[in-house]
């Protein structure tokens, strides 16, 4: 069990710190490549929607119907799914529009003044941090129960953290010209992920049961589906490359489908 906990923590740390990869992109790509960004946002959406519906929701169903019976289990599952959506919707509502991490850098369309850019970057880092918190709990919880199943989740969260890292580092870099600072901030914002995992461990562990896992799975599915539709897809569409975005979604789903089949 102890080894599992460490592994689960490591996995959520890896998922979280991929914001740093995005940070590197943001710092070293002279101009953000909007085609690449569109594709990767679509890809993240495809990955998250597919894994939520094809892997986590059926898993939640199984766990919850064992605990509560088919009919009540299904009710609990759909409430948890909608509850996850409501949770992330509320978080999104509380974060001011321009600082929302899942909306990738609109900064570069208008090129606002430097101090505004910097503020946007720092606020984005904060917002990304808050967002990553429940994601960390999600990764940790699933890795703890079954590392094999958690791998795709870790991959999905890592992928979608990349554009978040870009969203943090690019404005800071453009505003300050300081690569280290920009990169550091994006890295820091990913740290909330293992932090969430740790907190999840300390708070949830004593109550862990199949039923709670089922509820968490369905809740996390709701979170991931909502993020995909509310933030990732509209951001991908914003650059006007609709077909690139759709290709990204399909590729994300296909990658997830293949990796799930291989893990069977």
């Amino acid at each position: 069990m102890e080894g599992n906990v460490v592994l689960a923590l490591l996995m959520s740390a890896a998922a979280g710190l991929s914001t740093g990869i995005g940070g590197l992109f943001g710092v070293f790509a002279k101009k953000t490549n909007t085609t690449f960004l569109t594709f990767s946002l679509g890809l993240s959406a495809g990955v998250m929607v597919y894994i939520s519906f094809v892997e986590m929701m059926p898993e939640a169903m199984e766990l919850l119907s064992l605990a509560y019976g088919a009919r009540q289990g299904e009710l609990v599952r759909l409430l948890a799914f909608l509850g996850g959506m409501a949770l992330i919707a509320i978080i999104d509502k509380l974060i001011p529009e321009e600082d929302n991490p899942h909306e990738a850098d609109n900064w570069q369309v208008e090129e606002p003044p430097a101090h505004k850019l910097k503020r946007a970057g720092v606020l984005t880092a904060l917002a990304v941090g808050i967002h990553n918190f429940p994601e960390g709990i999600a990764t940790f919880v699933s890795a703890l129960r079954d590392p094999g199943m958690a791998l795709p989740i870790v991959a999905a969260i890592a992928i979608h953290n990349i554009p978040e890292g870009i969203a943090v580092s690019a404005p800071i870099y453009y505003a300050t010209g300081n690569r280290w600072k920009a990169f550091g901030m994006s890295f820091l914002s990913g740290l909330a992920e293992p932090l969430g995992a740790l907190l999840g461990y300390l708070v949830l562990m004593p109550f862990m049961s199949d039923a709670l896992y089922g509820i968490l799975y369905a809740g996390v599915s709701g979170i991931m589906v909502f993020i995909s539709f509310d933030e990732l897809l509209p951001s991908a569409e914003k650059y006007g490359k609709h077909h690139v975005a759709i290709a990204g979604v399909l590729a994300g789903m296909a990658v997830m489908a293949v990796s799930l089949l291989l893990f069977m």
Partner: protein, 266 residues
């Protein structure tokens, strides 16, 4: 035989929902962007939820029963993606502005400046495009209705709902270009008629070969088709009207209603 008749009737009903869209157009003076955003988001939510929560696992169960778990999942995944590519191909062959899932709206300033002739043509072409789209949908609805009403009802509801904006997109340009109400409504109804036509052909061609494996593959295909339409057309369409939060509330609402109705049928 009763089953076949019932399945056919249900398909007919879901197809003729385009007529409801036509009616809505005639009774709202200006196209209501907020309403359009919500309703497109709503259909996307319904279609994605029913595809992924109901059809996909059902296909998995049927194909798993035939071929074993691992091979069955492979076939499910393959038919899911085949459905996506099928509809992507159809979309590719229909010129952009006549694509039925992208809605036309009357008050666009660009089309108000006397281009009525073009607008009318758009409406008629849209009707043709929708008819082509509805064909495989009709097969899907019919096939599932002959199998089990529990699976079929959500599909039929989903198809009916998403036919409403399609009907709007037929009737709107015809009506706005000065066409008569009757004509606008008539075309929107006609476009929906290919739904039961698809059902009829599905019945004549597919029914002799029906077994669990064919059902499973069809479910996977239909799931892929509906998910692709949602991502490719409905959601971007909903966003076009600029009411992002309404589109999302529509989506969540669609999922919630589907989830509840599936739960009630358990």
């Amino acid at each position: 035989m009763d089953n076949v008749l019932l399945a056919f009737l249900l398909t007919l009903l879901s197809g003729l929902a385009t007529g409801i869209g036509g009616l809505i157009t005639l009774f709202t003076k200006r196209s209501n962007n907020r309403f359009l955003s919500i309703s497109m988001g709503f259909s996307a939510g319904v279609m994605i939820y029913v595809s992924m929560i109901e059809l996909f696992p059902e296909a998995n169960a049927l194909l798993g029963g035939m071929y074993g778990e691992k091979t069955g999942s492979l076939y499910t995944v393959l038919s899911f993606f085949a459905g996506m590519f099928l509809i992507a191909l159809i979309d590719k062959f229909i010129p952009e502005d006549e694509n039925p899932h992208e809605m036309a709206s009357c008050p666009l300033p660009a089309v108000q400046n006397g281009k009525t002739q073009n607008l009318k043509r758009t409406g008629v072409m849209t009707a043709v495009a929708i008819a082509i789209h509805n064909f495989p949908e009709g097969i899907a609805a019919f096939v599932s209705a002959t199998q089990s009403l529990r699976v079929a009802l959500p599909i039929i509801i989903a198809i009916a709902i998403h036919n409403i904006p399609e009907g709007i997109s037929v009737a709107m340009p015809i009506y706005c270009s000065g066409g008569s109400r009757k004509k606008a409504l008539g075309y929107s109804f006609l476009a929906g008629l290919s739904e039961p036509l698809g059902a009829l052909i599905g019945y004549l061609i597919l029914l002799p070969f029906m077994n669990d494996a064919v059902f499973g593959i069809l479910y996977g295909l239909v799931a892929g088709i509906m998910v692709f339409i949602s991502f490719d057309e409905l959601l971007p369409g909903a966003e076009v009207y600029g009411e992002h939060h309404l589109a999302i509330y529509g989506l969540v609402g669609g999922m919630a209603i589907m989830a509840l109705s599936l739960w009630l049928f358990i």
